[in-house]
Each structure stands twice: as C-alpha cells, then as structure tokens.
Symmetry: C2
C-alpha cells in the first residue's frame, strides 16, 4: 500500500472521533497534539483505524463496527455505555473504556444537591420568593431533615461510593444494591432493589443501564419505597419506569423526586411541571469544567496505554 | 398576698410565652404538661413570672423587662438573639439561653444545599426545564465543581462546625473567622473577614448578628472575594451589606449568592429576581419537623434546669 510522505513523518496514531452532530468533544484541540484525528466512517482512514473516541451518547452499533475492520478500542466519554453494543465489541475482540472516575465526584455532588433540594424544597422556595409570594403568604411549608435518612444506593460503583461518602457526613445511613455484594464494603447489601426500597427512605439510582437494569425502578419498587419515599436519578432515564413514577408523583403515592435524566430526553413529562416536590434537571450532573479536564486526561491515558500495549486505565466494568 | 386554691395545688412553674402575633411556638401543647403558660405582659402573673420563652424574633427590650420585675431567665427559640437586649439582661442579672444545637444540622444542611445550588445551578436548571426551554436550547451552561473549593466560614460555632464537617466530605478545604481563634480547631484561622475572603472561593456566613458583626460582609470583603466568589448567608440579613451585594451581583463583580436571609424580610431586592446565579430562600434553613422536636427538648431542658437550680443547657454565647 502506497503511503504519502507526510503520513510517514507523522508519528501520531490515527484516532476516529465518532460523534452525533449535536455532541462535540470540547477537548478536540488538546487531542491533536497526541493523535491524528478524523471524524467520518466514510474516510479512507476508516479501514486502518485501530481506536475510536465515542463522544457522549453517539451509538456504536454492529453496523458502525462493520466500517472499521481494524478497530481494537472504543474509548467512551461517558460513565454509562448503553449506546455501545458491548456484546458485539466483545465478539469482535474490541476493548471498551468509559470515563472511569472522571465524572464521579461531580455526579455524586449533583445527586446530593438534588436530594437536598427535594427534602428542603430549595428550588420550590426560590420559585416562591421570585414570584413575590413571600410577603403575601408568610411562612413557607416545612421541609424535612437529611440527617437520619436511610439512603439506598442502586449501583455502588465509583459514583455510588462517592454519594455514600458524602451522605454519611450528613448523618445518613447507607445501604446498597448491585449485581454482587462487594467484599470490601461495610454498608449493608440487598440482593434486590425491592428489599432495598422497603428499608430505605431515599433511593439514589446511579447504576449502568443494561438489559437487566432497564426499569429497575418499577411499580413494585415505588410501592415498597412508600408515600414519604424519595427517588433521585442521576443514572439514565430508562432505569426508572417513568410512566409509573409520574403516576406515583401525581397521585401523592411517593414523597418526591430529583431527576437529572429522563426516558426520552429532552422531553420531560409535563405533569411534573406542576409539582413542587420534584426537581427537574437537564442531564447536567457531569457538566463542569473540572469534569471535562478529568475526562481529557482519562481519554488520552487510555489511548496512550493502548498504543503502547499497556493496561487500559478505565476498562468498562458494569456494577 | 392571697393565693387561689388552684394555684397552690398546681406544681407547674409559671412561664410567659412572649411572641409576636405572626410567630407561634408550634410546641405549646407539649409545654403545658410541664409549665403553667400565659402570654401577655399585661397579665397579673407578669409581676411574679421568673422565666419567659421568647418565640422567634419577638423583641425583648428594656421596656419588655420593665413589665417583668421577677424575671431571671429568657429562653430564646432561635440560634441568633439579636432581637434580645442582651446588655440589659446582663445588667439586670437575667440569664439568656438560645436554641443551642437544635437547629445546627438543619441550618448546615441548608447552607450546603444553597452552595451546591449556586455552583451547580440547580434551581436555575429546574426553571429552565419547567419553562420548556430544554428541547429548544439544548445544552445547559456549565456549573462548577464543589470539590477543591476553598471555603471560608464566618462564625465557626455550632452551625459553622457542622458546615465544615459536611464540606470536607466533598473535598473542600476550610478556613474560618470568628472573634477568637479556637484552640481545639485545626482549620486555619483568619483574624479578620477581609483576609479570609482573599483566601477563599466561598464565604459561608453563619455568625451571630451583633453591633460588631453588622455588615461584616461589606464592599471591601466582596471585592476581596472576587469575581468568581460566592456568598452564602444562613445567618441574618444584616450581616451582609445587602445594597452592596446587590450591586456586586448585578454588575457581575461577584460569582453568585445563596441567600436564606435578607435585611428587610420578607422584602427581597427585586434586582435579584432576574439573576440565575442567585438562589433566594424565605428564611427557612431551620424549618423542619426534626428542628422543632429538637428545639422542644432544648427549651424544656433549659426551663427544668432553671427551676431546679441546675446549670442551663444552652446559655447564649457569641461566636
């Protein structure tokens, strides 16, 4: 195969940036010091590229992979990789990495922020003041205390562990559900989410979305959580049966919810707009400059490790 | 002096409930099992009563005290007692208690909630979603990470200490200002708020309001805090020069503010209603059922200690 001079002289490995038009990688200009980037499956480079960066929720399907016969690495830029056909990657011997710990602290912070907001009604109180109601109505309805609440964490991975650490400092107790009991963790383990819900005041959903976890928060779990219970979702919308959740909230059969993710983003069920015990957020738990800086490091570290045959920094593992 | 039979038979000590019409003590029905309550300075009991409960911000002035020649104890129901003439109480040998630790955890939780909200734009994001803007506008502006922030706590009393404990769990560093350096505290101490502001990304104001702390957050301190700085106030409105703060916020000379208290409550400066980097809250940091339960215990414990000549549970001490 003929090779052009400038390619021979360029020692940077070739990397495909795979992104939907609406998702740009903010770090692209920093990557080009290390890698030769291109961004189309139709490029001539597609046949020889060994690594791709999957930006945000851009799908990586069997069809995508058919364009990339030499591919050996998918570098995800998110914590969850439900948009990547993991089984197909495995079958073809393609390694997959995710964002590792890059987002964990920011997402954990945001989960705590949503929980505090639901319990203490911060957003609703802000709305109350801005609408000029304070002088007319006087005292505002009581919130409730975070300390002493029994927190059930659904998915005790990197994010869930950071959530637990924070909430213990507020005087909460923590228990968790995940696919397997973690030997090094002291918090009580529940093998199924229903039992966790029975024994919790709050469920914080931060597991990966897979076939097994789709609608893991269903009608039974919501019933078990009970009328005072609170759901926080910083994972993926489809972890929760949204239609059921909306019903429970509208009928007052659950205490409240803090939702950063939805089943059909950016669509949010309109019934929720009227509720003061719900905090709605446009999938921004990861969105800070500090996150992107950390992500940049993880992506570059994974690519460098791959191209020098060293162990990957953050191979994707499901919790 | 003639004494009626039913008074002789009633062993419960006499206690005056001193309250503005708009502030009711929610615990009154629990107090009557221990104390004989009355609520008017004009009652015949006023001349002999030895203890009063001051509800919320109801003023206790020299004039109030003139009606109560036998008074020896003022039991406050709030953390700050700027509405009580402390000098006059001292002069007359009247002891004063406050809410002790009853509110501290709830107020600390709320300070963290406001800070997370300002940094991560939770209330503004909720407004964004509810107004239907998400599908039209797409991605939401970046917030910023709590971890790593340098937190300056103004007044490291019971509330400030709880704030510090929580924020350390988020990976923040903590320093403080108070009247005196606290020997048992490891956090760096700054003898004045200006120096604390120079070395902080965030100031959390939770000291008592006194002549010395009035407008402790002034133009100089705001300038020292800088364009990215954030002010959280869960103390009293007059701790901050509100007019200056509004100017700084409107002109973008400070990063944001989370305000539970204001100089002329329930009036809130209207200029703030247009700002997304400000969270406004109607003085509710203490308002939870758990707070009131704890307050009930503190009030009863102080009264019982007083009437049995034991040390008071929460004598008022300024930080």
């Amino acid at each position: 195969m003929a090779t052009e001079d400038n390619e021979v002289e360029d020692p940077r490995p070739l990397v495909l940036i795979h992104n939907l038009p609406s998702f740009k990688l903010p770090l692209q200009d920093r990557l080009i010091t290390h890698f030769r980037l291109f961004d189309s499956l139709a490029s001539p480079e597609a046949s020889s590229v060994r690594a791709l960066i999957c930006v945000g929720p851009t799908p990586v399907t069997a069809d995508t992979l058919d364009h990339l016969p030499s591919l050996r690495l998918v570098v995800g830029s998110s914590a969850g990789l439900d948009h990547v056909d993991l089984a197909e990657c495995r079958r073809r011997g393609i390694a997959v990495t995710n964002s590792g710990d890059a987002y964990s602290e920011n997402v954990a912070d945001y989960a705590v922020a949503l929980l505090l907001d639901v319990l203490r009604r911060v957003s609703a109180a802000d709305r109350f003041v801005r609408s000029g109601l304070w002088p007319q109505m006087g005292e505002y309805p009581l919130g409730c205390k975070l300390g002493g609440k029994r927190i059930g964490i659904v998915g005790l991975g990197s994010i869930g562990s950071e959530v637990a650490k924070r909430l213990v400092a507020f005087g909460c107790t923590v228990a968790y559900n995940s696919r397997n009991k973690k030997p090094s963790v002291m918090y009580p383990y529940y093998a199924n989410v229903h039992d966790l819900a029975v024994n919790s005041d709050v469920l914080i959903v931060c597991c990966a979305l897979t076939n097994e976890t789709h609608h893991i928060i269903n009608k039974d779990v919501l019933t078990a959580l009970g009328r005072e219970g609170v759901i926080i979702n910083v994972g993926r919308g489809a972890l929760v049966d949204e239609k059921e959740l909306v019903q429970f909230l509208v009928q007052g059969e659950i205490g409240g919810a803090g939702l950063d993710v939805f089943e059909n983003e950016p669509k949010v069920p309109k019934e929720l707009f009227a509720l003061d015990n719900v905090v709605l957020s446009p999938h921004l738990a990861v969105l800070t400059p500090e996150s992107f800086e950390a992500l940049n490091k993880v992506i570059i570290a994974n690519l460098k490790a791959f191209f020098s045959n060293k162990p990957l920094l953050s191979p994707f593992q499901q919790e």
